[in-house]
Symmetry: C2
Subunit: 434 residues, 2 copies
């Protein structure tokens, strides 16, 4: 087999065999095929796409390019939830303990924030002492004893994805549906889960700006997961505004603890209930979605979800007293409300612009080497459809550096669009369930 | 400027600026942009194409990536002829001396054979002592004194093309019209010519199998050449059978000497006359094409073209007595006719297959490192439309190794297709003049 012939075959629109894809990925990981051939292949894939069979082959070759967790010795079903990313999207910190409290194991390998989107690892690390780097053995022990773990990707998992992603990043071949699907799914499959619930975001703060693109991605991931023998569910959910009322790492931990205590904003509560319920159905803890929702609500009402969160923090070395007293979280020196210059209804929010402005404020990463200010963030006084008087606060910004505030504030103000009339109808939070 | 952004822009179908193309090519040649970004760019170009303005920019950036001949100090117009390659395509050895004899300078930088096509340098090197590697100074001196030179590409000319071509070869990005155009034209422009006549071959022995593809290539090259200030002409010519009756390096030199002496096969004579006449028109040696044809015929009839060929051989260190006595050329040990198994009219010839079989016989290069047997080749007793009796020779093969004959002979026999009826109409040799 010659790499140039495989590139030509894909370039000319033919379907590659499992053997051809295996040859490319294996020899690329062994540095026997050079970057310049793989980047030409990736660009050909950008234009020609991959069939489902090709995507399954690519996903599995990537999955088995490194270590794969074997969780078969751990009792119970293992289910994970994966979100495509958004602003204020903090559901993992609630879903993982709630689902584990209801008896389904949650082996969650999480990511960091990049660009306008936040990352679960960054949020967890705002809890003093919280360690996201567990060894494989510790990860398995934690799943056996606690029932859930939220850790970062280990070096030995899916090395093909790291190598391919770095190359895609510098060759403008990131935005390819099958490559996105294979990247996400190979990592999730390597976790050793039985089932996976996908939260595919769409709207101004999502990677998939249109509902159609989000559906295509969701259907592709569900198809690949099922073809690989996993139970799959996917929710298409709205990301035309930040989720919940607080955005920023420590602020989001506070809001999660509120939800685990039975409070919190309605949109966040509702999405956590739906995602958790689907995890519980896939994990066979409930016969149907209604029973699963009830199971979730009981885990909140009984305090068992909160206690599970405490146990997770304890096992991962964090200061578990945060559950009782969130004042131990990093706090910003400054809190400044942004006042509305006019009166009107909030018609739309450029949520990606808000996410990027929050990066400038310190709450996120502008590039992979940026450091994060865990205390920085915002509180949303007004969300879509709300009426605001002139001079009334739209939101409050939390920050430690005035220079950063001066950069971020005008961008966040500009991201709100007000209208004289109330918007015709708020889009539903949960748009579709596949 | 970032290479990834330029790749993305081309990937998404936008037109690149001159500055963006200059940045890519210059920094690639300086090894500041890695192969893996350029190969992704080349694949994006394969799918998106290049506009004429982009192709001009690419061609000129490649042209000026190295040394460019300045021939302004040499009196007279300088015109070259370039063929896209075929089997038995030996016109350069006739056109260059004939045009120079009629007063137009011919600075011809020639190539080697590869795959099924022959190369002018290989043909010339079958003349004992002939040296195709001249220094730039010798090249200029030869143009001043002899009026024509046929040399190989020097190391310092168009280094960008060598680097890009090597990358295209291993990333399956060769077959892109604008990349082919830029590769050919950058080299021709670097020769410092005022005008260029293109012989774009089409048919079973050409790179462009269809007339439509040949026309597209010809039009694109003419457009780019004119945009770069050169006088251009292009002929679309038939390559559904070898040109002339002899194929093989030393055999083709023999046939060229026949033509320069006023003999030779009609198709070769006719094409040389037409190509030379266009060179003479572009070189302003004749007011119109009819006068230019007459000028060519006179240069043959008077013997001045033959004497010019002698002077070329002499200046380039070859044994000029070949002009008077072609028995000094390498001769094959064996000559074996291939006899037709049936009777019929020659309906078609797979000319590429013949070219590849001749490689196997030793006459050409199967890959860039192969050595060549200058004596190997074939004589065509029968060409398209000819009638052959069973047992009559189709062609005679010339070779030095019986093993090679056993490999090549059945392939050449299989390349002839006979029919009971004469083919409806032979296609014209010169299909179109742009």
């Amino acid at each position: 087999m010659r790499a140039a012939d495989i590139i030509r075959k894909k370039r000319d629109g033919s379907e590659l065999s499992r053997e051809e894809i295996a040859y490319l990925i294996r020899d690329y990981c062994r540095n026997k095929i050079p970057d310049y051939q793989i980047s030409a292949f990736l660009m050909a894939v950008f234009f020609r796409g991959l069939t489902e069979a090709e995507t399954v082959a690519l996903t599995q070759e990537m999955e088995f390019s490194g270590a794969v967790f074997d969780l078969s010795s751990i009792a119970g079903r293992k289910v994970d939830k994966h979100s495509t990313g958004g602003v204020g999207d903090k559901t993992s910190l609630i879903v993982a303990p709630a689902v584990a409290a209801a008896g389904v194991v949650v082996p969650m390998i999480c990511g960091r924030g990049l660009g306008h989107t936040g990352g679960t690892l960054d949020k967890l690390e705002s809890i003093p002492g919280f360690n996201v780097q567990l060894s494989g053995d510790n990860f398995r022990e934690m799943l056996s004893t606690v029932g859930a773990a939220l850790i970062g990707q280990t070096e030995d998992i899916v090395p093909a994805d790291r190598k391919l992603y770095a190359l895609r990043d510098v060759t403008s071949t990131v935005e390819s549906l099958p490559l996105i699907v294979a990247s996400i799914m190979s990592k999730k499959l390597a976790e050793g889960v039985d089932g996976l619930v996908l939260d595919v975001k769409t709207g101004s703060g999502a990677f998939m700006k249109t509902r159609q693109d989000a559906e295509r991605l969701a259907r592709a991931m569900v198809g690949i997961g099922k073809a690989c023998g996993k139970k799959m569910a996917a929710l298409i959910t709205d990301m035309n505004q930040p989720l919940g009322k607080l955005v920023g790492n420590a602020l989001e931990v506070r809001e999660c603890i509120d939800v685990l205590k039975g409070g919190g904003p309605a949109d966040l509560v509702s999405l956590c209930e739906e995602l958790s319920a689907h995890c519980l159905v896939l994990g066979e803890a409930a016969p149907g979605i209604e029973e699963a929702r009830e199971l979730y609500r009981r885990s909140i009402a009984s305090g068992s979800a909160l206690e599970k969160f405490r146990a997770i923090i304890r096992f991962q070395g964090g200061n578990e007293s945060v559950v009782d007293d969130d004042s131990i979280l990093p706090k910003a020196l400054y809190q400044t409300p942004l006042l509305s210059s006019g009166a009107g209804f909030v018609l739309s929010m450029d949520t990606e612009a808000i996410g990027l402005a929050l990066c400038a404020l310190g709450a996120g990463r502008e590039n992979v080497d940026s450091s994060i200010d865990p205390a920085a963030g915002m509180y949303l006084h007004k969300k879509l459809g709300d009426f605001v008087e002139a001079g009334e606060p739209l939101c409050t910004l939390y920050y430690n550096e005035e220079k950063r505030f001066r950069e971020a504030a005008p961008k966040i103000e500009a991201a709100y669009v007000l209208a004289f009339e109330p918007p015709p109808k708020r889009s539903e939070l949960i748009l579709e369930i596949l």
